[in-house]
Symmetry: C2
Subunit: 339 residues, 2 copies
Amino acid sequence: MPTDSNTQIRLASRPSGWVEAENFQVTEEAIGKPADGEVLVRNIFMSVDPYMRGRMNDVKSYIPPFQVGEVLQAGVVGQVVESRFDGIAEGDFVMGMLGWENYSVSDGRLLRKIPAGPVPLSYHLGILGMPGMTAYVGLIKIAEAKAGDNVFVTAASGAVGSVVGQLAKIHGCRVAGSAGSDEKVASLTEEFGYDVAFNYKTSASLADSVREACPEGVDVLFENVGGEILEAVLWNMRDYGRIALCGMIADYNLEEPQPGPRGMMLIVGRRLRLQGFIVTDHPEACEEYVRKAIAWIQEGKLTYRESISEGVENAPRAFIDLLKGRNTGKQIVQLSDAS
Amino acid sequence: MPTDSNTQIRLASRPSGWVEAENFQVTEEAIGKPADGEVLVRNIFMSVDPYMRGRMNDVKSYIPPFQVGEVLQAGVVGQVVESRFDGIAEGDFVMGMLGWENYSVSDGRLLRKIPAGPVPLSYHLGILGMPGMTAYVGLIKIAEAKAGDNVFVTAASGAVGSVVGQLAKIHGCRVAGSAGSDEKVASLTEEFGYDVAFNYKTSASLADSVREACPEGVDVLFENVGGEILEAVLWNMRDYGRIALCGMIADYNLEEPQPGPRGMMLIVGRRLRLQGFIVTDHPEACEEYVRKAIAWIQEGKLTYRESISEGVENAPRAFIDLLKGRNTGKQIVQLSDAS
């Protein structure tokens, strides 16, 4: 139920390097009133994601940068409190790019209604949302993984990587991955269907670790990290290998862009293809995925893990921890009760 | 006409770094005799190409390394002196991977007959051979250049690059390129159809030079060089740009692989595709090209320049000069008279 006050998180200053608590500001405002065509939403779950780090820089990219002093934005699932938009009614569950805040007013056209079932509401921010869609588009549409392929996934226990592994198994691939703690590595083989996994932080040689994990070489790399691990996998790619470049989390917090992998010559000799992609360019594949994924979840073929922090005031900490690799699975912040 | 002696060039030692004259050995042997199924060829033209540098290293690649003490191999056009292979007769013109020598004996199955016209015989080693086919496959099949695209070509005055520029114009693109001398740069706009070109050796900032050459950005990069120029073009790529990775001449003479370009993150944000390729993987596209290219040459749409050195004993020098960028257009060594 609405109270009079809306707690909000704003960008206080642009980080240089790692994000710090001081880059955020907590403010209180009166809850907004929807104008014609607008909707007031009580925010229930919000997503924090690595791509947000890029938006904190004042750099033109595929989405505009966050502005200093403004409320930060995130993917949010919420419930409608008051609607002045045809087709959305009080009590509907919706999702959209809303604020890091307890209540948001949004143009109704920018909201998407979601069903209250058959899976938990928060899943629409994760396995059924951008991370799951990203896994599917990258693995199946960009890298064109097919049965029998040797697939390698970096940041394999993350929101995207944990879905990639399972999708690879569903599609008949062999799948290996790397993650940054023994606990995460264990989750890969125990929960997320990986055939083999290793901890890149304790590897003496990343190239050797990749070779041991994939003795036949790598046909498909799903790359979330970049930097040294990208180079290590590159040296282990098989002829005609495909690399889906999804993210470069290793680069997000660097002030200067780092050199790319050594061995670019291998891309020629082994006829490799590297392709960057943004999931929102592929709406049809996303719809195809959501349809299939609900079935896979209900059949138990697709497992999902969330880390849920409580309260909007803890969103900055959840985001900072995410960037430092302290979470497993999809990082969610719960802002109010789900019902 | 055969004499009794066959002059041959052998690999005396593996170069480390730049190739030197001492890495080659000149030997004399009796002219070989074809056995059943074999053909004796009087070699007329041979090709020297940057990829041969890779074969001088003892490294597994898409073609096996040259062996120390053995006669070096090259693409050769010659005339049949004696044939013991059905379907090839004395007097036929053939091409194949033969030796750096005046006469070669070859398995007849590895030779391809070529017509005596309508274009000069040596063209089959260049504009109608691997370099021309490479230009076509990379630009049209790998990078999918289409009318209106902004195309950038590195090593633009080389055997491949000088064809890429012309093919880009034939297909309705705008095309810019870089080369390593003012004379080469002049040839790009005056002979090879480039809209604009610059000398990378005298550029104060490669990224600025690329931006000035392509103010709208680059849709297609045909990359022969790698290293700094690849990085400079990467920063100027437009969304959904395609990079055909044909070669990395900047890396061939380095003992250690160098880091890749800074700004790999751009590949994600701008949804770029980088693809390595080897022309021999694309035989249908090559046939399609030769058919079209003969017509374009006869219509004057496709111009060609060769540098021809005389005599097999000068082949090492021609190859060394090629690697140092001292030639313009396709480097050929003439071994005997064309008729």
